[in-house]
């Protein structure tokens, strides 16, 4: 028997290699006009992997102390060979990953892939999305520059609007009453230990659920295949779908490489806790729609502060959106069309507010 055959045999006896291969061979992906959206999840997973690798590399030089954080990032950007590349890919990759995660979420929403029995898949996915936003928020502070310091001040300040426990959350996040070096240490811990741990668990669960139930087919396509079963088409996951996914990954890496080479991520000015806020402080683009909304709100709505109403509405909306599959389980009723309308509004609101925030200065 040849050497590769031996190894395969050995592996098969230890943990059922052939069985695993057989599973992969038999796994299929349904083919229809919306199949392109199936790539988004895999792309997000790939970008998460990039973040893990580049993040670990950055840990080799980064130092999470107020007197050294900015300097260590500066060191990475100027002195370490290819440090500019690693850090730029980490920063750009984070943004692209959040974009694909949001796109993945909306595609799942509009294709109604969250219906029974996939409620838990949606739920775990939504929690993953919040974790990803948490990654973005906590990572933004780590270079310890002026912009990130003040964006963090504003961002953490919003949590104080939460009733009863708001102030406690604020103190918990900041590691004190104010954003200081203690906040940096805390955000670092959250960014590199807490969130990765939680995210790994949830990704495992999410993938397990996807494998367990297979890919969801949108209701409209489902109806068509019921009417004409001979038209139902499928694609093998391995190698057919996997090879296509691989192409998309290569393209994604090439895009990140170009962004890093032509537009390395900025360093900014070192954070100064005693300086007054610079003009044009803003959060990352994915929080812009909330930032812009809070700007629009009047100082007081009835007996409540405008910010409180804003935080309350966003909080309720997030909870409702997360629990969506438990409201919208009706296969094709009036309510399901109503939910699509809500989704279109939400997407339009997100895009509209974000664009407005950047254009309408």
């Amino acid at each position: 028997m040849s050497a590769p055959g031996n190894i395969r045999n050995w592996l098969d006896q230890r943990f059922g290699w052939d069985e695993l291969m057989a599973f992969l061979r038999h796994k299929t992906v349904p083919i229809h006009r919306f199949s392109y959206f199936y790539f988004l999840g895999g792309m997000t997973l790939f970008l998460f992997g990039i973040q893990v690798v580049t993040g670990i590399l950055l840990l080799m030089y980064y130092r999470p102390v107020p007197d050294g954080a900015f300097e260590s990032v500066q060191y990475i950007m100027t002195r370490v060979p290819f440090g500019w590349l690693i850090r730029s890919i980490h920063s750009w990759g984070a943004n692209v990953m959040i974009l694909t995660a949001i796109a993945h979420m909306f595609s799942v929403f509009f294709l109604k892939s969250y219906r029974k029995p996939r409620e838990l898949t949606w739920l775990s996915g939504m929690i993953l999305l919040f974790l990803v936003l948490g990654f973005g928020f906590s990572g933004y502070l780590l270079p310890w520059n002026m912009l990130s310091l003040f964006a963090t001040k504003v961002g953490t300040n919003m949590t104080a609007q939460v009733p009863l426990i708001g102030h406690w959350i604020l103190v918990f996040l900041r590691g004190g009453e104010d954003v200081t070096g203690a906040t940096l240490t805390r955000f670092f811990g959250i960014h590199v230990a807490v969130l990765p741990g939680l995210a790994t668990l949830l990704i495992g669960l999410h993938l397990l659920l996807v494998q367990r139930f297979g890919m969801s087919v949108p209701p409209s396509v489902e109806d068509e295949t019921k009417a004409h079963p001979e038209k139902a088409r499928e694609l093998r996951f391995f190698p057919n779908f996997f090879l296509r996914e691989l192409m998309a990954w290569y393209v994604a890496l090439a895009v990140l490489g170009c962004l890093a080479a032509f537009k390395p991520w900025e360093l900014g000015q070192k954070a100064d806790l005693f300086a007054s806020a610079p003009a044009g402080i803003r959060p990352e683009w994915y929080f812009m729609f909330m930032f812009q909304t809070l700007r629009f709100l009047p100082a007081n709505v009835g007996p409540f502060a405008g910010d409180f109403i804003g935080v309350l509405v966003f909080g309720v909306a997030a909870v409702v959106w997360t629990c969506l599959p438990f409201f919208d389980n009706d296969r094709r009723g009036r309510s399901t069309r109503w939910f699509t309308g809500v989704g279109i509004f939400a997407l339009a609101y997100f895009v509209g507010m974000t664009v407005y925030a950047y254009l309408g200065k």
Partner: protein, 429 residues
Amino acid sequence: MNLGGFCRNGRAPRGLFPPAFLLCGALFLASPSSLSAQTKNTCLDCHSQLDAPFRVDLAAFAQSIHAQKGVSCVTCHGGDSTSDDMSVAMSPAKGFKDFPAREQVPTFCAKCHADAAYMRSFNPSLRTDQYSQYLTSIHGQRLAKGDHQVAVCVDCHGVHDILPPNDSRARVYPTNVAETCGRCHANAEYMKPYNIPTNQLALYSTSVHRAALVDRGDLSAPTCSTCHGSHGAAPPGVASVVNVCSTCHVFQAQLFDSGPHKDVFKSLNLPGCVTCHSNHGIQHPTDALIGADKGAVCLQCHSAGDPGYETAAKIHARLVQLDTSIARSREILDRAGQAGVEVGPAQLDLNQAQDALTKARVAIHTVELESVDEDINAGLKVTDVTYKAGESALAEASYRRKGLVISLAISLLVLVGIALMIRKVESKQ
């Protein structure tokens, strides 16, 4: 404190009364402001209602330094401000003096302001030499000769609305002085009898000194009074111009004195600094000011063939050489920075070259090539290094691009390979 209670019930021990009385009296004396507020000032009652020239603006007077320090109408004008009867209030018997005629104004103010002992009671560091200075000024001398057009105290300081000179609203605050002098000196009609230029304010408004004073807010930058004096205002003579400028431009003056120009200028009766830099409209000096080209001030005296002409041309060339060299370094570093390579340290080094150029531009006041060369060479040494840093940063940028292209080419190859593979796998299925 419960003195009232003691008094009313009359049970207080006798011994307590004298101290209590004294205490009341002390309190009374210790609050002069509340006292004066109650004291009536019949002068202002009328004069705040009258028309010019008898009008006194109450608000302006209240903010003036005199009112602030408790100097009231009678302190200067005499009379009795407590009497409602005009003939009593303004009776010469009460010491009333009419407002002074123009030629009387300096002595009127000097009564207090030249009295060192009296002024010390308000502020021990106040100067009291204004009147004696004024007598030496052109203004004071002409006034003595009966010219009533010249400036007297009130023309610059105001009358009832006088503000201290460190109040930014005062007409004698540094940023306002030029306008104040210009009220007369920029008025061609008014200045006609004196036959002197009236373009000083217009020139000064374009000058580097005004820009420093007003635009940059540097209160140590000169205005009219810095060079001409304030109370002793007079044009500085030819011989003393260098001394005036050198109070700030010490280094340039020292270098000028050490060079050959000093004696030559003296023999030609040329004023030092002004000969090249002009006076009121001093512009930020450029390297074009020195040299043999059109626009160079050296050409006023030197012409082709004489050694000074040659030296001027050489000095100019050296300055331009370093300036261009700095610009070249800056340009390449900026280009590298835009290409995404961090060039902060090299840009910091470049500041040393800029320092050297600044020093060289000061050293030209010796008008000797050797002393300029020293700084220029030091600067050129720095720009050599920074230019090389810029070149290697650009090389780094192109290295990054090349690396990207290679990796993109490989990726493309992989993509083609996968595409072919898919097609092949699927053609079999």
